[in-house]
C-alpha cells in the first residue's frame, strides 16, 4: 500500500505550544503521528529560512505553534512570527505552493486538546492537498 502520509514539521515554542503538545502526550490523547516537532525557545526564533528549508527538505506542511497574543514569554516574539507567516503565505502562494501548507496556531501549555485537534486537522488538510515533492538531497546536506 502506498497511501500518502503527510510529513509535517512543527516548530513549537518552549513555553506554550511545546508544553501543550507534552500535555496532549501525557494525557494519552489520540492524534495523528504526522508532526515532527522541533522545540524552539520562541516562535520569534523561527526564521523564514527554517520554514523554507523544511519545505525544501521534503516537508509537506509546516506548523508553527506559539503562545497566545499577549502571552509571549519574550513579550512579542509571537507577533513577529505572525507577521512572517503572513508574508510567507503570500510568497508561497505566488510560487505555486498552497498557503494552507503553512499554519500558525496559538496553543497554551494547558491546551493539550487544542494541540491534538490542530494536528489532526492539519494532517487531513495536507493529506487532501497531496505531497509537495520538494525533497532534494543536496539541500539536506547544505
Amino acid at each position: 500500500m502506498n497511501e500518502f502520509e503527510p510529513k509535517i514539521v512543527g516548530f513549537l515554542c518552549n513555553w506554550c505550544a511545546y508544553s501543550g503538545a507534552d500535555l496532549a502526550g501525557v494525557s494519552r490523547m489520540k492524534m495523528a503521528p504526522n508532526v515532527r516537532s522541533i522545540r524552539v525557545m520562541c516562535t520569534g526564533r523561527v526564521d523564514p529560512t527554517f520554514i523554507l528549508k523544511a519545505f525544501a527538505c521534503g516537508a509537506d506542511g509546516v506548523l508553527i505553534g506559539g503562545c497566545h497574543p499577549g502571552d509571549c514569554h519574550y513579550a512579542e516574539g509571537n507577533y513577529k512570527a505572525l507577521r512572517r507567516s503572513v508574508f510567507l503565505k503570500r510568497m508561497l502562494k505566488e510560487q505555486g505552493i498552497d498557503p494552507q501548507r503553512l499554519r500558525i496556531e496559538w496553543i497554551s501549555a494547558s491546551e493539550g486538546d487544542k494541540y491534538a485537534k490542530v494536528v489532526d486537522e492539519m494532517t487531513e488538510t495536507i493529506r487532501a492537498l497531496g505531497p509537495l515533492n520538494q525533497r532534494n538531497k543536496e539541500m539536506i546536506n547544505a
Binding site: D47, P48, T49, I51, L52, K53, F55, A56, P69, E76, Y79, K80, L82, R83, R84, V86, F87, L88, R90, M91, E94, Q95, G96, I97, N133, Q134, R135, N136, E138, M139, A142
Partner: protein, 319 residues
C-alpha cells in the same frame, strides 16, 4: 613563459556583464598584457569547434556569465568546464539566476504563449512557435531547445568561485583580476570573490533609527528624505538581506537596494531574510492590519527574489 589563458562567455544574460568588464576602462589593456584571451564571443569571432579543439584544462580562468536557459547554454557550460581549470560564475545570472530566473514562476508553455502570441506587438495568427528542429528544402535547421526552467551555472557543472552582482562592479572585477595577475594565492574553492562579507546596509551612509512601519511604499510613491534610512521611511529596500560589495550605489542616490549582489553571507535565502527583516519593522499586532501592511508590498517574490529566485531554497528544487 606563456601568458595564462582567459575565456569569457555569456549564456542567458543581457550583456551587461560584458559591459562591466569593459568598464574597467584602460585597465583592459593590462588584462590583455597579462592574459591570452582565447575565447570571448562578445568581442571576438570564435566558433564552437575552436573551443572543442582546445586541450582539456587549457583555459586557466573562465568567467562565465548568464544563467542556463537553453540546451546550448548547458552544452557550453559543460564544454567550458571541461576546458577550464578555474570556472567562475560571473554576475548574478550565473550565480542565482537573476532577472531571467523570475521566468521560473511560469511554465515554458505559458512563457511561449505570452512571448510569441499574446504580446500586443506580436502578429502570429498561425500560432508559430520556435521548434528545435525545422525541415526546409535544403535540409534540417536546428536551434537550441528552450528548457523548462532557468538554472544557475552551479546547477549544471561544478563552479570554483562566484563573483556576484548585476553586473559585478568594475572596481570589484579589477580587484579580482589584479589579484590573479599578481600571482597571489587563490582563496578556498567555493569562495565568493569581489564582494563584501557583510550586508549592503553596512555600506549605506544613511542614518538608521528604530523602524516602525505602517505601510510600505514603492519608490515612485514617495520622495525619500535624503539622509534617513530608506526602510525607516517605509520604502522596501533589500539592503538588510543583500551582500555588500557594490558600495551602496543605489541607496546613496535615494533608490532602495534592489538586491543585485544576492543573498547575504551565511544566509542562503535572500527572500527569507527580507521577509524576516520586514516582519520585524511592521508596527502592528493586529492580524487584519498586518495583512493590510503586508499587502502594501506590491510584488513580494519579484521584489525579495528579484535576483535570486532560481537559486533560492524553493526555486532551486522546482521542476
Amino acid at each position: 613563459m606563456s601568458k595564462p589563458k582567459l575565456a569569457l562567455y555569456w549564456a542567458a544574460s543581457c550583456g551587461g556583464c560584458e559591459i562591466a568588464v569593459l568598464d574597467i576602462e584602460e585597465k583592459i589593456l593590462e588584462v590583455d598584457a597579462n592574459f591570452e584571451i582565447v575565447f570571448w564571443p562578445c568581442v571576438m569571432d570564435p566558433k564552437y569547434k575552436d573551443v572543442q579543439a582546445m586541450p582539456d584544462k587549457s583555459i586557466d580562468l573562465c568567467l562565465f556569465n548568464g544563467g542556463i536557459r537553453t540546451s546550448e547554454n548547458k552544452k557550453m557550460a559543460e564544454l567550458l568546464r571541461e576546458k577550464s581549470q578555474v570556472l567562475v560564475a560571473f554576475g548574478s545570472c550565473a550565480h542565482e539566476g537573476c532577472i531571467p530566473g523570475l521566468a521560473n514562476l511560469y511554465s515554458k508553455d505559458s512563457l511561449f504563449k505570452r512571448v510569441y502570441k499574446e504580446t500586443p506587438t506580436t502578429e502570429n495568427s498561425d500560432g508559430v512557435y520556435p521548434q528545435p528542429v525545422t525541415k526546409v528544402p535544403e535540409g534540417e535547421l536546428e536551434i537550441p531547445e528552450f528548457q523548462e526552467k532557468l538554472v544557475p551555472l552551479s546547477a549544471v557543472v561544478p563552479v570554483d568561485y562566484t563573483i556576484p552582482g548585476c553586473p559585478p562592479q568594475p572596481h570589484q572585477i579589477w580587484a579580482v583580476l589584479e589579484h590573479i595577475i599578481q600571482g597571489k594565492a587563490l582563496p578556498p574553492q567555493g569562495s565568493v570573490l569581489g564582494a563584501g562579507l557583510k550586508t549592503c546596509c553596512d555600506e549605506c551612509p544613511r542614518t538608521r533609527e528604530e523602524k516602525k512601519i505602517k505601510r510600505f511604499y514603492r519608490p515612485h510613491e514617495i520622495i525619500p528624505n535624503e539622509t534617513q534610512c530608506l526602510l525607516d521611511q517605509g520604502i522596501v529596500c533589500c539592503g538588510p538581506a543583500t551582500r555588500s560589495g557594490c558600495g551602496g550605489l543605489c541607496v546613496k542616490v535615494g533608490i532602495p537596494c534592489r538586491g543585485c549582489y544576492g543573498a547575504a553571507p551565511e544566509s542562503p535565502d535572500q527572500g527569507a531574510k527580507m521577509m524576516a527583516a520586514l516582519s520585524s519593522v511592521i508596527d502592528s499586532q493586529d492580524p487584519d492590519e498586518i495583512e493590510q501592511i503586508v499587502n502594501s508590498v506590491a510584488d513580494p517574490v519579484g521584489t525579495f527574489y528579484r535576483f535570486s529566485l532560481a537559486g533560492s531554497m524553493l526555486g532551486r528544487n522546482r521542476k
